[in-house]
Symmetry: C2
Subunit: 398 residues, 2 copies
């Protein structure tokens, strides 16, 4: 499937010539996606229209709130599989991000109501009654089986439900959004499930930063917006943590007093006993460890870095937890930390460090969010390889 995908990506047009043999097919597809498609009713079962592609997709669910660095997270998760990632080239607004081997589908596309409809029905996008669950389940099943689907689009700019776009399964398909693990049917089809959990304190600090300092919103309006979302968030989004294989929890630092959210304590929480992925650990598997690498051999900038590792109960399940508090100052620290970790899923010594450095300008590359999001991408690769028997070329990672 990789070559078809490449051909439709404007961003990697230079590569297309290498696959001239497939030009007729790719040309056909390009013309289809570039031409305005006929509007289909949003509730139609588009699975019936699917093209059999033969690529059985490895399906990952990622639950993440909006405005919390989700696009950076998605880029980290897909970069590991190589090739540039870009929005699907359909000549109009889309939420779908594609690369050679990956497709990231935004679950907002399954909104039942457009912005006006939500307002009229007094329902938030967080509410379970605001999603087309049956359609979502059908399309996840179709994609998993290797069939193309016509997926609806929610236009974040206009707030409208746009005409569907064709999704051709790639090797890895990520369903990201508010509720990938809420519906039983959808959840049971996920090969791996991940939840990015930003604590209220950190969300608040980030919103202040962005909405107040950059967009001029008032502190009151920011508080009101957070408080207004909280009931539905707590009712329908947060409970999914119990069903996630991996939770990345982002908390305020414990190293210093830091009201601005400059420093973060991030926890990589992995359910125990998973078939597809091994649990990463620090020094000694199954024990409990607190580690401050900064000291005699490694001098870290203030306020330093502290790691923790241990086994605990999390929302009713046994989990292993890797925690990082603080910020990396330079390369030495990264590789030093990586050398203390086992079961990262790295394919060679230093791959985790290399991968973080490749994306070093992305938000959070110097703290636990970047570190554990990258670790998470390694876990997706590990699970994918275990489940499919295929091998991902480590040198291809972007």
């Amino acid at each position: 499937m990789g070559y078809v995908r490449l051909a439709v990506l404007a961003a990697v047009a230079a590569h297309a010539s290498a696959y001239s043999a497939v030009a007729p097919r790719s040309a056909m597809r390009r013309s289809r996606v570039a031409t305005p498609v006929q509007r289909v009713p949003q509730t139609a079962c588009t699975v019936l229209m699917a093209t059999k592609t033969g690529v059985k997709a490895f399906v990952v669910g990622v639950a993440a709130d909006s405005g919390c660095g989700k696009s950076t997270f998605m880029r980290r998760l897909t970069n590991i599989f190589g090739g540039k990632s870009a929005l699907l080239d359909i000549g109009r607004e889309t939420n779908t991000l594609v690369s050679d081997k990956t497709t990231v589908i935004c679950l907002d596309d399954y909104h039942l109501y457009d912005r006006k409809g939500r307002s009229a029905n007094k329902i938030t996008a967080l509410h379970k009654d605001c999603q087309k669950w049956d359609l979502m389940a059908e399309q996840v099943a179709a994609i998993k089986a290797g069939n193309s689907v016509m997926k609806p689009i929610y236009n974040h700019i206009t707030g409208e439900l746009d005409a569907p776009e064709e999704i051709v399964p790639t090797d890895i398909v990520i369903f990201e959004g508010l509720h990938p693990m809420l519906d039983d049917k959808v959840r049971s089809m996920l090969d791996l499930s991940i939840y990015l959990d930003i604590s209220d304190e950190v969300k608040f600090a980030w919103k202040i930063q962005r909405d107040m300092q950059e967009r001029g919103h008032s502190l009151e309006s920011i508080k009101a917006s957070i408080e207004g979302r909280k009931p539905d968030f707590d009712a329908f989004v947060a409970p999914q943590r119990a069903n996630a294989d991996i939770v990345i929890e982002v908390l305020p630092t414990q190293l210093v007093n830091d009201a601005e959210g400059k420093f973060l304590r991030v926890r990589f929480i992995q359910k125990a006993g998973l078939d597809l992925i091994k649990a990463p650990f620090l020094f000694d598997e199954g024990s409990t460890i607190e580690w401050t690498p900064c000291g005699k051999k490694l001098t870290c900038a203030y306020p330093g870095i502290k790691f923790r590792y241990g086994t605990e109960m999390y929302m009713g399940s046994e989990v292993t937890v890797l925690e990082m508090d603080g910020r990396f100052d330079k390369l030495d620290e990264l590789i030093y930390v990586e050398s203390a970790l086992t079961n990262t899923g790295a394919k060679f010594y230093g791959e985790l460090t290399q991968q973080i450095l490749k994306n070093k300008d992305a938000v959070g590359s110097d703290n636990g969010t970047g570190f554990f999001q990258t670790l998470c991408s390694f876990k997706i690769r590990e699970a994918y390889e275990k489940a499919t028997g295929k091998t991902v070329d480590a040198s291809a990672a972007a």
Copy 2:
């Protein structure tokens, strides 16, 4: 020197036959030490009487209070060098403990006053004015140079100053007692210095156990005895910690509420940058670590075991600290912990565990006192080998 020593030890008489060639000399020595010697003035410079033996002794100072498991500690420190250890066979009361390669000299033997004299002069044995410093320095120098000395004896049973005994230097000579590191001249001659520091809380719990429960003393008399010793202890004994290469600090546990002193938190504190010995560490040198090995792979009995490692300032010097809180329940735990330590001075994998198990009936073998006293014996061996270029046979350890 080993053969001479062996010949005079009744406990190892069976070995003596192997050295029949040296019978004349050993017979001569035996007759001398067995015959009541003439009383010499306690202040005489006995160095002049010394016999040149040619064995330059490696000299270790061990500061330790009485009634705190000192004899167990001494046994652990000397066992590592092989051969049985026993009191020097002089046919009367002695404090000197000898084995093939080691001699342990009790510094009480340099008391200036006998029990009556101390009482008459209202001075405790803890006070610096109660020791014969010049004689001690002369004899340490003589022994270090390989010369025998006639060392005075303080009789702990009668409280009197008995006639001297001849000390023939062995490869390792340990000076143990209240003040091995107080006098500048003596201290500067020590090749390695160790301080066993029992905290007041633990001392009190132990004294209650021994003096109240076993000897029927009253709680008040125990308190009075501790309080009475404290001023001189704090003035003349405790400050030596600043000069020790290694301090073993015994504290109450932090794992549980434990007024009886059943569980101990023990810290192995080693001065940074020593020439003769490397600093032991847990997992990662130069960092700070807290490790609870009990968990998934290793199930420890209540209240478990917790280790710490780090660098800190201790009485004005940079030190590395290894800490163990809690108690070992079985062999698994010991070897598991040993495998996480580096720079123990062990000569093969598991030697530390083996050595502790060989002495498993000794007090403290299941906690940090036994663990770190054994580690300390490895450090003496390491220092001895580095300083002398000689090799100690690990298989000989008792």
